[in-house]
């Protein structure tokens, strides 16, 4: 439960010395409860009170780090139930699972494949985040050998070691701990040994319970000793996992229920890769910090990565590119000039197709505050006047010898007015960017 001002007040020196900048200890306590000041500002709190209050004032969901270097993952740290309340923060990690029973050539192939699961979409690179290795062989030495191979060959991916046998875990950790793999699971049976290992090697640990109540009890035990934890409820039924993860998120945020103030992990169970992605989508939507799956082909993984990207964009600011004049390819004074908006989706759709057309061109991305063609048009940010102003400012007139603009088909209605205002000749292009290559060939190859 969240602390009230009174709870906090009880821990303060009650001297009203004002060193914190507040008139009384009570006022300071109230401000702390609201989160509008920091405990450090009172120089007189006792160590024991500090410890108590630090724990109580910690964020409702802890952030846990997996991995090292530029691709390391931050899990958890979420503050809302719905993205429209503010934003979701740390993207669900998408992780592909492999077994340590793979034959050497299969393993090779798998690793190569998983390394390739990084794709370009809308100017951004999106990809899977980690490889999870299971100890299906049950042999510590096999597990170690496979983990070492994966670590050496999948350098851009984080590691998750799925092993409940503390002896097997102990075999691999000395060599791999520096890479901060997520390890687990610690269960009711093995938790003492697992926690000791995680602590000794400073790696984050999965706590696997059996249903919500059992998981909460286990986490509570472990958390008094170690806090770099990720929660697995042990549940695998999609409908139940959805409810469990929702309850975990609600309890953590609304009730500050500490045992659930950690990132969570979910596992797919479906055999068919299509069904598996759909199942993973449920977990991405409903609060899993990590989703572990088997499907590892691009056409399956791409939609899932895209969904994650959508869900985690900040609703308060559309993703925009700089409003600017862009040169695509080896432009010349004869190159076509395309006009679009500076909404990322719009700009990259157009850029991709201009590239595709193999005819170098200029793109003027008008400042529409990151909105799409029709949204911008409907709200007056993409009309004859705004486009004219931007075209003049862009300096395009000095770069090309012609005076022709190509505008999106969806705003055909502005062509007359734009022509009049800008003094440029206006051609209405296709409605969808996909039409640009065919359009460009028809219009621009003969003169080129």
């Amino acid at each position: 439960m969240a602390l009230t001002g009174l709870d906090i007040f009880k821990q303060l020196p009650k001297t009203n010395c004002k060193d914190c900048g507040m008139s009384t200890c009570l006022a300071f306590a109230m401000a702390l409860a609201k989160g509008s000041t920091e405990l450090d500002l009172c120089p007189h709190v006792s160590e024991s009170a500090k410890k108590f209050l630090d724990i109580a004032s910690a964020p409702p969901i802890r952030s846990v780090i997996v991995g090292v270097g530029p691709n390391q993952l931050t899990l958890g740290g979420e503050t809302v139930l719905f993205r429209h309340d503010k934003t979701f923060i740390n993207q669900t990690a998408i992780v592909i699972k492999i077994s340590d029973t793979l034959a050497p050539d299969e393993l090779d192939e798998k690793i190569r494949n998983i390394n390739g699961l990084s794709m370009k979409r809308m100017g951004q690179r999106i990809g899977v985040n980690a490889i999870a290795i299971t100890n299906c062989s049950q042999k510590p030495e096999t597990f170690k050998a496979v983990v070492d191979i994966v670590a050496a060959r999948a350098k851009n991916l984080n590691l998750i070691l799925l092993v409940e046998n503390a002896i097997a875990l102990e075999a691999v950790l000395p060599g791999i701990a520096a890479q901060k793999p997520l390890v687990g699971s610690a269960t009711a049976n093995n938790w003492q040994a697992m926690v000791a290992l995680a602590k000794r090697y400073a790696v984050p640990l999965i706590i696997k319970g059996n249903g919500l109540n059992d998981t909460a009890a286990l986490v509570e035990k472990v958390a008094s000793e170690y806090k770099e934890l990720v929660i697995d409820t042990g549940m695998r039924n999609t409908a139940k996992v959805l409810v469990a993860l929702t309850n975990i998120r609600r309890l953590a945020l609304k009730k500050k229920f500490r045992p659930f103030g950690f990132p969570t992990i979910a596992f797919t169970t479906a055999e068919d890769p299509n069904d598996e992605i759909i199942q993973a989508g449920v977990f991405v939507a409903k609060y899993a910090s990590i989703v572990i799956l088997k499907a590892d082909e691009k056409p399956y993984v791409l939609p899932l990565l895209t969904f994650r990207m959508n869900l985690y964009t900040d609703p308060q600011k559309p993703i925009a590119v700089e409003a600017n004049l862009y040169e695509i390819g080896a432009v010349t004074p004869e190159s076509p000039v395309y006009v679009c908006t500076n909404f990322s989706l719009t700009y990259y759709a157009v850029e991709g197709e201009v590239l595709n057309s193999k005819i170098p061109g200029y793109i003027i991305a008008v400042d529409t505050e990151g909105t799409s063609v029709l949204t911008a048009w409907a709200s007056g940010r993409f009309d004859a006047q705004t486009i004219t102003d931007f075209v003049q400012k862009s300096g395009i007139a000095e770069k090309v010898s012609h005076r022709t603009l190509v505008i999106p088909g969806y705003v055909a209605v502005i062509s007359g007015k734009l022509q009049e205002k800008s003094g440029w000749n206006v051609i209405v292009g296709p409605q969808e960017a996909v039409g640009i290559p065919a359009f460009a060939k028809a219009y621009y190859t003969k003169d080129a």
């Binding site: 999609t238 409810v243 009730k255 939507a285 082909e297 939609p303």
Partner: protein, 319 residues
């Protein structure tokens, strides 16, 4: 720990709406479809009623959709030029409803007369027993002349007629009122505009329980997050007692998902994205299941495999 402590207590729920009418009810459908009634967020059965599962409407056209994706062509090529056969195939593919888009009324796509289009509606009604959603060609002026005729020839069938938009809703609402049909609104992915449109329509005399709404459905990767959040906000508002957003939600995902570049681009142009058919089908399916999580009641879809995936997901989560 007591899980009851985190049950949300909502005071509102989504209207329960039935589409179609059987013989006893004055129509010719062999079955009706009931949607809505949700008293909590999707699939949180522990805290509220959700007695009607989300259903699928399969989209068909009155003219061959020559520009449809090759992956869709593969699934439907033999029926594209015959709306009756197409509707029957849709039922085979598991359609709970048929959404008939009267594209051929478009002045640029054949400009069929309202009477010609009404005949297509009659033929489809005669060929299948599921309830129908009928939407216009998208040209406002033309749709205003089509919808009254459709509403009249299908009197008694309890159709869902669409799309009623902010700047064009009067004639469709009037037609629905006269012949007892229901109306589907189309929003602009803006919660306040959705609300306002619903109010305007009820002010014309159509009961709120006769309205369904499409908040403006975007595809995965193409604004999905806007639709997702508008739907979540609308659903929460409705559960908290806002009657003006208590309409069941229809998402037109087939139309959006199959325009996405990821559904269209061949693998040779985008080796990075892998096999086109696989990713295209999943594009539609994942768009649909994502919006299901945000509170969709009717999903309008196209590809049979994507529909199978969606229905599986609904069943799995409702079990």
């Amino acid at each position: 720990m007591n899980l009851d402590s985190i049950k949300e207590k909502y005071i509102g729920s989504i209207h329960t709406v039935t589409l179609g009418a059987t013989k006893d009810q004055g129509g010719t459908r062999t079955n009706t479809v009931t949607v809505g009634g949700d008293a909590t967020l999707p699939f949180l059965f522990f805290e509220g009623e959700q007695s009607n599962k989300a259903v699928v409407a399969i989209e068909i056209w009155d003219i061959p959709p020559t520009e449809w994706n090759s992956v869709l062509q593969d699934a439907y090529a033999d029926v594209f030029s015959n709306p009756v056969a197409w509707a029957q195939k849709a039922v085979e593919f598991g359609a709970d409803l048929i959404l008939l888009r009267l594209k051929g009324g478009d002045p640029d796509l054949g400009n069929k007369t309202p009477e010609q289009l009404a005949n297509v509606v009659k033929d489809v009604l005669a060929a299948v027993g599921v309830p129908l959603i009928v939407i216009g060609c998208g040209n406002d002026e033309k749709d205003n002349s089509i919808m009254p005729v459709i509403a009249a020839v299908a009197a008694g069938e309890n159709l869902l007629l669409g799309m009623a938009k902010n700047d064009n809703y009067k004639s469709i609402v009037a037609a629905a009122l006269v012949h007892n049909h229901k109306v589907l609104t189309l929003g602009t992915v803006d919660i306040n505009m959705c609300k306002q449109l619903n109010i305007l329509i009820t002010e014309l005399g159509l009961a709120a329980e006769n309205i369904l709404m499409d908040p403006g459905s975007c595809a995965l990767g193409y604004g999905l997050e806007y639709t997702y959040s508008v739907m979540e906000r609308g659903r929460l508002d409705a559960l908290n007692g806002n009657e003006r957003l208590a309409m069941p939600v229809v998402c037109n995902v087939g139309h959006e998902a199959w325009r996405a570049k990821e559904a269209i681009a061949p693998e040779k142009d985008f080796p990075d994205w892998g096999n086109q058919a696989k990713r295209a089908i999943l594009w539609e399916a994942l768009t649909a299941t994502s919006l299901l999580q945000a509170g969709a009641n009717i999903m309008v879809m196209r590809h049979p495999e994507a529909i199978r995936l969606f229905k599986n997901n609904v069943n799995e989560l409702s079990a």
